[in-house]
């Protein structure tokens, strides 16, 4: 088993460099690269599943000629839980990408892109496996860089370069916090090895609090906690769709993984950690879903929805920590399990939705809702699969999204029953926010699905083409996974028990007694399917004997209806965006119809990111003016830079030998 994982680890960069070389020689490397990624995913996925089913893998250690560094890799249940969706989505996105990047693009650039794709998967795998701080940081940086190069794949467009820089900047800022976190931990334990950190705890509660804050900032920048989320709605639309799928599906989850892993180093948590994380989570969820609702761009909408889902995971984790500290360990287990399951599910449906958005973009050339409409007829597969993903994302039964929603709600209701009043009130707040967020998610995704795929095309274009068979297959696999998890979710309980043991050995025993609610939910899902089938057959038999006519939609007697008269995405969302205008601050430019015989009138709305506009922009503007006075240091003269380096080295040497 271990060997398989090693093969996967070696195969990924090998595939990447082969694709790069292939591209240089003028051949399209897509097929080769996709095959390599799929093979690596199978090789890597098997050991991960083996661990989740209860197997044990020996850790490896290879020497690494870096002080304090060691090639120490280990697959425990927590790692495996994140590895499985990583491999599933990487393989599907690669197959999809092979169709997406088929022709029309220079092979040399495709080679580069596939190299970075393989390196990104490799880096994410290494992040999850690494048990040495230096190795972890190396993988973390590799992950940031390779994804940056993928985001700026279409670098000739200025709209792509700017998001790329925002992403890189925030990534590096987050990584700085992680350097601080890991170096302090390493200094305390006098070792860079994770196994020496785990279960020890940090003796001073103040230091533990500081480390927790560093972890929230560092990992939160990757995961997309508000207000560190501003790179997501920029980078996701800029990247090619299957890369967005990978980034939204897996990359941001490494932030959640890192946070949970860090918790194992810090010992007993404090109640305020839970409270803070819960607050951040709830805020992020509301913020994400409200902005998702107000978007006019399909991929930006999906990106904001990822922010929302990350918020839900953080809220589950935070409420769990709070419950754990306030004497309700069952709440602790449920919260952790809910966050983990939601991370797993989100990979599946968000991956599916981004691939669907890619197909829409491919077929119509637009991501703007006001250009789309009626795509279900030309794109039956994409439409149906996107609809399925939307139902899953809204947390509706019988699909997988509902299971994690159920666990999250059970966490909240479990804390509502607690005799501890603060926990009960936190639980109530969570219940209210979760309910609101799920209601808004239904609004958001009925808009995304309805406006894109239903009704009539708003802009007459050439007939859109359905995507190719392999791309469709990749989406089908993800959709099937959504359905399978929805119906067989109870089978994930045992693996989840193994995963929660990572945080506290008493946790697995506290899991809700069987038959767990998940079994009931699966039963209800089957009943629902049977009823749907029964009613559909009944309807068919009823209609078989009668006349069924086709005509126009009820138009209230109006003689010349036109597709442009359909309810638009903005008008669909308007009641809710008006309700949340204090948060959204959407700009409305209106030139209303005037006079008795009105002529042209215009209405344009836009919802720029509140944090980017009110927080990041003023902050960086001030920073720029402050730093301008140091500009004289930067001459562009190489000799001068060498002088700086030499001076620094000399100063350090003198300081050390003092």
């Amino acid at each position: 088993m271990n060997a398989l994982l090693l093969v996967a680890l070696a195969l990924l960069p090998a595939t990447g460099f082969a694709a790069w070389f292939w591209g240089r020689t003028g051949r399209n490397p897509s097929g080769l690269a996709a095959a390599g990624v799929v093979a690596a995913s199978v090789f890597g996925g098997l050991p991960a599943i083996y661990v989740l089913l209860g197997g044990e893998l020996m850790p490896w250690r290879f020497p690494w000629p870096v002080p304090g560094g060691e090639f120490h890799l280990e697959t425990d249940a927590l790692t495996a839980w994140f590895l499985v969706p990583l491999f599933l989505l990487s393989a599907c996105a690669a197959v999809y990408g092979a169709g997406f990047w088929r022709n029309g693009i220079a092979t040399r650039r495709l080679g580069n892109a596939w190299l970075f794709y393989c390196l990104l998967v490799f880096a994410m795998m290494l992040v999850l496996l690494a048990r040495n701080a230096l190795l972890f940081l190396f993988a973390w940086e590799l992950m940031a860089l390779s994804s940056f190069f993928l985001v700026v794949f279409e670098q000739e467009r200025a709209t792509v370069r700017r998001p790329g820089w925002i992403y890189l900047g925030l990534s590096q800022a987050g990584a700085a916090f992680l350097f601080a976190l890991l170096l302090i931990l390493g200094h305390k334990a006098n070792s860079m090895d994770f196994t020496h950190w785990a279960w020890r705890g940090v003796d001073s509660p103040v230091l533990a609090g500081v480390l927790f804050a560093l972890a929230v900032l560092g990992f939160g920048a990757k995961a997309g906690f508000v207000p560190l989320h501003i790179w997501l709605p920029e980078a996701h639309p800029a990247a090619p769709s299957h890369v967005s799928a990978l980034m939204s599906g897996v990359l941001i989850k490494t932030g959640i993984y890192g946070l949970i892993r860090t918790l194992t180093f810090l010992g007993e948590p404090a109640a305020w950690w839970g409270g803070t994380l819960l607050g951040i989570g709830l805020l992020t969820a509301i913020f994400g879903v409200t902005f998702a609702l107000a978007q006019h761009d399909l991929k930006r909408l999906l990106a904001y929805s990822s922010v929302e889902n990350i918020g839900l995971m953080a809220a589950g984790l935070g409420l769990g920590l709070l419950g754990w500290c306030l004497g309700e360990p069952v709440v602790g287990v449920l919260g952790l399990a809910a966050a983990l399951l939601h991370a797993f599910n989100h990979t599946l449906f968000k991956g599916l939705l981004f691939l669907g958005a890619g197909s829409v973009l491919h077929a119509t050339g637009s991501r703007q809702f006001e250009d789309l409409g009626g795509l279900l007829k030309p794109l039956p597969w994409t439409g149906a699969l996107f609809g399925l993903g939307a139902v899953a994302l809204c947390g509706l039964p019988p699909l997988n999204g509902f299971l994690s929603e159920l666990l999250l709600m059970l966490t909240a209701f479990g804390s509502v029953l607690s005799p501890e009043n603060p926990l009960a009130v936190a639980g109530l707040l969570t219940v209210a926010v979760l309910a609101l967020v799920s209601g808004l998610a239904v609004a958001t995704f009925s808009k995304a699905f309805g406006v894109t795929f239903l009704g009539e095309p708003r802009k007459p274009t050439t007939t859109p083409q359905e995507n190719t068979g392999t791309m469709r297959a990749a989406m089908c696999i993800l959709a099937a996974a959504c359905v399978a998890v929805g119906f067989f979710g109870f089978m994930l309980v045992t693996p989840l028990q193994r995963v929660v043991a990572v945080l506290s050995p008493q946790f697995p025993k506290l899991f809700p007694a069987s038959p767990s609610p998940l079994v009931w939910v699966s039963g209800a899902g089957v009943a629902l399917l049977v009823l749907v089938a029964g009613l559909a057959v009944w309807r068919k038999t009823l209609l078989a004997r009668r006349t069924v006519d086709a005509t126009v939609t009820w138009d209230c007697g109006y003689a010349r209806p036109h597709p442009r008269m359909q309810y638009t995405a903005s008008s669909f969302a308007q009641p809710l965006t008006a309700l949340f205008r204090a948060l959204l601050r959407n700009r409305v430019r209106l030139s209303p119809p005037t006079g008795i015989l009105p002529t042209a009138a215009r209405l344009a709305t836009e919802a720029p990111d509140l944090c980017a506009e009110r927080l990041a922009r003023p902050l960086f503007a001030r920073l720029t003016t402050r730093l301008a006075r140091w500009r004289w240091l930067q001459h562009g003269n190489v000799q001068l830079y060498v002088l700086y380096i030499a001076l620094t080295l000399l100063a350090l040497l003198l300081w050390k030998l003092r």
């Binding site: 009043n421 009130v425 309700l579 204090a582």
Partner: protein
Amino acid sequence: MGWIEFILVLVVLTNLKLLASSRLGASIRVVARQGLILGALPLLAHQDALSLQHVALAAGSGVIKGGVFPWLLFRAVREAELTREVEPYVGYLTSLLAGVGALGAAFWMGTRLPVPVEVVSRWLVPVAMFSILSGLFLIISRKRALNQVLGFLVLENGVFTFGAGVLVETPQLVEVGVLLDVFVGVFVMGIIIFHINREFDHIDTDQLSALKD
């Protein structure tokens, strides 16, 4: 769970209604009703040892808050020819949610606050606190001077709730004094609103700030 709790719940509900209410007339009526309801509190709190003093306090506060104040305020509305909208700085929904938040805070403080005297119900201190917070919130978040009078009344009702629910004799006197203060306050405000309106054609307090220098 007796009548006292019932009254306290009604006080909470009237406060919430006041926070969400968009109509001036409705707001005045709600405050009047709150005053009437609270009039019964001293009677219920001291039903074992009812004295003339309690009956007088109940009757006095009931008549003044339920009858005289609304009459004065409605007169001010009529004389000043105010529109019927409340004109808030903070929207009604936000006010309502803030009210629920304040209720939570009041309950938290109510459990933490050391009360040296015996009270009639464990809800008494939180509800009194909530009335005070709602009154303050109304004063801060509404533009109209008349609404600020209402907020002031709610605040006083909070103080009254606390005074009437304490099972010790002395606060009665304090309560009578406070009632008198408020009475004078409302009376003066009524006249001032009328006169400001005559001078300036509006009674928005935010425009009064133009007089500051």
